[in-house]
Symmetry: C2
Amino acid sequence: MNQDYIKADKWSIIEEGFDQENVKSSESIFSIGNGAMGQRANFEETYTGETFQGSYIAGVYYPDKTRVGWWKNGYPEYFAKVLNAPNWIGINIYINDVALDLATCKKVSGFRRELNMKGGIYTRCFQAVTSNNVEIDVIVKRFLSLDIDEVGAISYNVKVLKTDAKIVFEPYLDGGITNEDSNWDDKFWNITNITSANNRAFIEAHTMKTNFQTCTFMQASLHYNGKEVSPKPADRSESFVSIKFEQNVKANESVVLTKFGGYTVERNHPNKELTSVANLTLDKVSDLGFESLLEKQKASWASIWEMSDIVIEGDIKAQQGIRFNIFQLNQTYLGTDSRLNIGPKGFTGEKYGGSTYWDTEAYCIPFYMATKDDKVARKLLKYRYNHLEKAIANAKKLGFFNGAALYPMVTMNGEECHNEWEITFEEIHRNGAIAFAIHNYYRYTGDYSYIPEMGLEVLIGIARFWHQRVNFSEEKGKYVMLGVTGPNEYENNVHNNWYTNYLAKWCINYTLTQLDKVKSGYADDYHRIIGKTKLTDRECEKWKNVADEMYFPYSKKYGVFLQQDGFLDKDLVRVDELPKTERPINQKWSWDRILRSPYIKQADVLQGFYFFEEDFSLEDLEKHFDFYEPFTVHESSLSPCVHSIQAAKLGRMEQAYNFYLRTSRLDLDDYNKEVEEGLHITSMAGTWMSIVEGFGGMRVVDDKLSFKPQIPNQWKAYSFKVNFRDRIIKVHVTSENVSFQLIGSKEVSIRVNGKKVELFPDKLITV
Amino acid sequence: MNQDYIKADKWSIIEEGFDQENVKSSESIFSIGNGAMGQRANFEETYTGETFQGSYIAGVYYPDKTRVGWWKNGYPEYFAKVLNAPNWIGINIYINDVALDLATCKKVSGFRRELNMKGGIYTRCFQAVTSNNVEIDVIVKRFLSLDIDEVGAISYNVKVLKTDAKIVFEPYLDGGITNEDSNWDDKFWNITNITSANNRAFIEAHTMKTNFQTCTFMQASLHYNGKEVSPKPADRSESFVSIKFEQNVKANESVVLTKFGGYTVERNHPNKELTSVANLTLDKVSDLGFESLLEKQKASWASIWEMSDIVIEGDIKAQQGIRFNIFQLNQTYLGTDSRLNIGPKGFTGEKYGGSTYWDTEAYCIPFYMATKDDKVARKLLKYRYNHLEKAIANAKKLGFFNGAALYPMVTMNGEECHNEWEITFEEIHRNGAIAFAIHNYYRYTGDYSYIPEMGLEVLIGIARFWHQRVNFSEEKGKYVMLGVTGPNEYENNVHNNWYTNYLAKWCINYTLTQLDKVKSGYADDYHRIIGKTKLTDRECEKWKNVADEMYFPYSKKYGVFLQQDGFLDKDLVRVDELPKTERPINQKWSWDRILRSPYIKQADVLQGFYFFEEDFSLEDLEKHFDFYEPFTVHESSLSPCVHSIQAAKLGRMEQAYNFYLRTSRLDLDDYNKEVEEGLHITSMAGTWMSIVEGFGGMRVVDDKLSFKPQIPNQWKAYSFKVNFRDRIIKVHVTSENVSFQLIGSKEVSIRVNGKKVELFPDKLITV
C-alpha cells in the first residue's frame, strides 16, 4: 500500500483536506466516464499546481510515430495512442479580477471530494481565502450522463462570505491541449471551426492523420438570486472560445454557473451535422435542466447496480473496493458499441497506446457476460472478428503466411500498438486468449451461433498461426515453440513456455472440433468459410499432428510442468526468503537480474490451470500452486485475482482474502505507486472474478451453473447476482448458509457443492 | 556487394563522375583523419543536395539523454554520443554573385575524387557550368596534418574558363551545427567567444554538460597571379564567422584560396590558452606554407606505410582493400593518447554512442601491437584500467557487489553508452575480451609489467563479476550462466552460451594464475593490490570452484559444444538452403524469426576456438567449423575475418579468400548498404588479421613467432611486416616460397611450419 488518504465508505470514494501532493492521484481516482467519454478529475477553475489534464473520447486516437532506442524488424511504424481531447469542463473564475486558483489561495479549508458511485456523481467543495483576501465557499457537482452519453453537466456554486465581491465566470472550450504520453510532441488536433452564439460555443476539430471529426460543445448559464445573468459576447482565439458572465455578489449570497458540454463524433453522426447535433443535444439537456438530468443519471446507475452490485457485510474497505472496481468498469465500457473496447486505463490516463489487451478476453468478458447479457460479450468477440484481416496482416509482416493470424498485443483499430520485441513479437499467448474467449462465451451463454457466423474464421487464423509458429525438434522428437514470452513478463524469449504450448495445442484441437461441429450443423457457413480460407483436410491433419506431438517441459522430481525449458537451472530462492528491501523487484533490481531470477510477475503455468482447470485434478492444482506461488511476486495488477480464485479453490481462504484485498484496492491504496498515471481498469474485472469465481466458486459445468461458496472470516456475508442465459440468480453467502434466489420467470437447475439444486422464480432457496 | 563505383587502384580510392546518389557514400569513404580529428568528405563550397555533414574531434562527446520505447531498470540515464564539431572547412564561393553549388550547376563534368592513401591527401576536381553560366575548373586538395595534428589544410583552386568573372571566396567557421544522430535535438554546443583579426578567425565553444572547451580556428589567404589579395573585414553572427575575398578573374586564369584550420582542445592545453595556442599553430603552418606541410604529410604517411603496408601482387582489388583498411585504422587511432580509443565509425560518422567496443581488445590490439609497438597496445590496455572504477560502478548498478567489474558494451569515458537490455546487460562476454587482451599483450610483447602494475586489478574485477554472474543449478549439478547474449547477437537472453561460459572459466583461471605469479615475483604490487581489493584466499577458492564446475552444453550426437542450451531444438536448415531472396535476414526477417532461427551473425563458438585455439585439436576445430559455419550468415562486419583465419588454418584457401574479400572491401563495395552512415573501422583490423594470421599463419607460441604461410590462388605474392619485441620481420610469400627478412640488430628465432628458423639482421632467408 502506498497511500491511505481515501476514506472508507460503502458507496462513495472520499477525500478530505487539500493536499497538493494528492492532486494527480485524486485526478485518477475521481475520474468519471460514461462509456462514450471520460475525464480525469481535473479542477474546472484555474489550477497552477501539479496536474495531469485529461479528457478522452472513446475510439478517438492518434497514430503516433514509434519511438525506440534500437529498431527491430517488424515494429509498427506508427501506433494508436489514446488521445487527450479538447477540454470542455474549464471555467475560469475571477474574483475581484483575480483568478481563483487553489494553488495560490491563502487558505483552503473544508476541501472534500466525493465520488458517489451509487448515482455516478462527483462533488467537490471547499472554502478558500483567495490571494486577494475574499472568502468563498464553493460546491461543484459534475457528472457525465449515461442517458445522453454525448453530454456532461457541471453545477458550479460560489458563495461569497463576509464581503461583497465581483465574480466573473468564464466557462470555455479549449482545443489547445497536448498529450502527456506523446512520443514526439506532434500536434494531434487540427481545429477547423470555432463558433458561438448566445451562451453556446462549439469547436470543430479533427485529429491529424486519423481525421476523426469531432465537435466539442458547451452551454453555460449563470443564476443569481433566481435570475439568469446575461452573458457577454464570446471571446475567441485560434483554439479557444469562452463566454463571460459578470456578477456583483453580495456577502453570504451564492451564484451558480450551470454548464453542459461534451462531444459529438463522426462515429455516430455525419461529419457535417456534428455542430447541429450538438445544438440539438444542448436543447434537450437545457430543457431537462441539471437536476432532472441528474435524476436520470441516478436512475440509470441504479439499474446498473441492480444487476452488478456485490454487497459485502462487515468489511467496509472490501465493500468500497469491489464497488469501485464495478463502477469503473461500467464507466469505461457499457457494451453498446462493438467498435469500442476496454482500455487498460479507461478514460483515466494515457499510458500505453491502444485500448485492447488480452485482458479483455481473459478477464473482462466473464464480468460483462454475468452482469450484462450475451449481447455485450458478443460485441467484444465481434470486435476481434472485425480485426481478423489486420491480425492476418500483422502475422504476415512477421513472416507467417496462408492466413495465419496474430492478434496484436494491444490495439485500437486492429493494428499493433506495441514496440518491444520480447512482447510485441513473442508474447503470443494473447492469440490463445482470443480463442479461449470464444469457448468461454459459448460455454456460458450457450449461444453457438457466433462460431459459424464469425468465430470459426478467427479460430482458423489462430490455429494456422500456432501451426507455423512451432518447429519440429529432431533432438526432442516433438514440436517445440521457441522464443516466446509467457504471461509472466519477467521471462523473455524463453523456449517451450508450458502455458503457451498448452494453449496452442488446445486452440488447434478446439478449432478442429468446431470445424466438425460447423460442418455437420451449419453446412452453409462451413462451405462459405472453407471457400474463404481455402482450408484443406491435409492442413488440418498437419495441425493435428502438431497438437498431438507438442512438447511440454516437465519435472519428474517435482511432479510439475515447468514454466519453460531450463526453469530448474535457476537459483530457486522463494519470495519470502528475499529481503523486504529488495521488493518490488521491478523497482529494485536491474532487468537482467529479474530475468535470471525465478520470480514470476503474474500467473503463468497457473493461468493455464485457471483456464483449463477441468483438465487437471485438485491435487495437480495444489502441487503446481505450491510450486509456483512461492516464486510469484504479483507485480502485475492481473496477478492476485487468479491466485485468489485458486487459493479459494484449495480452501486457503486466508490467502485468498489477502489476494482479494490487494486486487480490489490496488488503485485506491496505490499499491504500485503509479495511480496518478491512471487506473488499472481491466484488472478490476479480476476483482469481480475473485469474489464470484473465487469465494462463490461459480463455474459453468455441462451447461449448468455450479457454485461452491465459501466466505472469508473477515466478512459477515456477501451477495452477488449473475445473469445466466436470461436467468438472474442472486447468491447470498453467510458463514452459516448460502441462499439462492432466481429472478425471472423460468426455473433453472444449478449445482451447489456438487449437488443439484432446482431454483424456481422468486423463491429463496437456502442451502 | 551494393556498389561498384570506386575505381580499383593500388594506392588510391577514386571516384569518377558526379552522381548525387553517391555523395553521402563518398563522404564516408573519402573521410580523412589524423587520430586527433577527422571529417567526412563534405564539399567545402555550398551543397544543397543530400549530404551528411560531419567533423569530429577525438575525445569530445556529449551525454545525450537516453531514448527508449520502454525503460528497463539499469539503463543509463545519459550516454556519450560522438559529437559533430564546429565546421572549419567551409568556403562559400560566389561567382558573379551566385553561390557555387554542384547541386544546381547546369553541368558538372570531369568530377573526380581521389583519396591518395600513400600521402594522406584528398583531392577533388571538376569542371562546371554554374547556374549563371560561368564555366569554371576547380581543384581542391585537403589533408589533416599528422605532424601538427591540430591543423588541416585546404587549397581551393578555381580557374575561370572563357569569360571573366568576379569571384568571392568566403572561408568560414560555423558553430551552428547539429548532430544527425541525436536523441532529442538538444543543443550540444555553447559558443562563448568569436574573434577575428586580419585573415584569421576563432570560435571558442564548449560542449553543453560535458563542458569540453575548444577553439575552432582558421586562416585564409587568396592568391591571384602570384599576388596576395587582401581580405575584407570579417562577417560575424552568433555562431558564424567568415572572411571575404573578392577578385575579378580573367578568362583562363586561376585564383587559389589556401585555408588552414582545425581545433585546439583543453585535453591538450589550458582552457584560457586555446586561442593563443591556435594563433601560434597558425603562425607555424603559415610559415611552412601549404606545400611544405604537405611534404611533411607525405613523409609521415611514408613512415607509417613503411611498417604497416601489406603488398599484394596480382590482385588489385584485394590490394586496394587491405590498404584502405590499414589507412583508415591509422587515420582513426595512432596510439599517442591513452585517453582515446578506436571508435566503431572513427571520424566518419555518428552512429552508435561511445567509441570503444570489445572490438578494440578482440580485433584491434593485434594490429597495433604488430604494426606499431608495445606502447600503443599498452595505452589501449591502460584505457580500460583507467575505467576500472566506472566498470565497478556499472556492475554495482546491476546488482553486483564487492568490486565486481562489468565493462560497458560501448563507452567513451567508462560509462555505458548502450541501452538495449539484451546487449547492455547480457552481452557480457565483452568483459572476457578485456581480460584476454591482457593475456594477448603479454604473450605477444613479453612485457609482464602491465599485469602487476595495472592488469591484475582489472582481472580481479572481471573474475569477481563472473563468479557472481553464475549460479549453481541443482538440476545440472554445475554452475550455469543464465540470460546472456553471445557474440552472435542473433540470439538474445540465452542460457549457457558456450563461448561466454568458456571465457568466464578462462578468466577466473587466468586471474588465479596471475595472482600466484604476481605474489611470487612482485610482492609489493601483490600486497598493494590485495590491500586495495580485499581479496581473500577463501574468495579465490570460490572462484576456482566455479571455474572447475562450469557447465558446457555439448552434443554427443554431433560431437560439438553447443552454442547455448537448446540449440539443437532449432529447425537446422543450412544457410545455403535458404532462398537468396530471404537474405540478408537482418533486412528480410522479423526479429523474432531471426531469434528462433539457427542463423549466426558472427563467430560465437568459433570465436572461442579462435581465442583459445591451443586448447583444441585441429580435428575439433574442423568439426566445429563444419557444424557452425553453414549456419553463419556473416551479417556482422566482424564475422568474415575470424572465419577466414580458421578456413585458412583448415587449408580451405578458396573459402578463406572469399571471406577475405568480403571483409577487406566491406565499405568500398558497401556490402551492408549503409556506408553512407560511416565506415566500419574496427573490423578493418580483422582484415589485417585475415592476412597475417590467416594466410600468413602467424601465431606466438612459447615466446616465439610462428608462421604457416599459404597464399590464395588469385595472388602472385604478398608481403607484410610485423614488429615483434623490437624486431621487425618482413614476410614475403609467393606460391613457390616464403622469405623472411629481419630488420634490426638482434637476431631472432622463429618457427615456420613447425620448424625452427633463425633470422639474422638484414639477411633474407627463403624457405
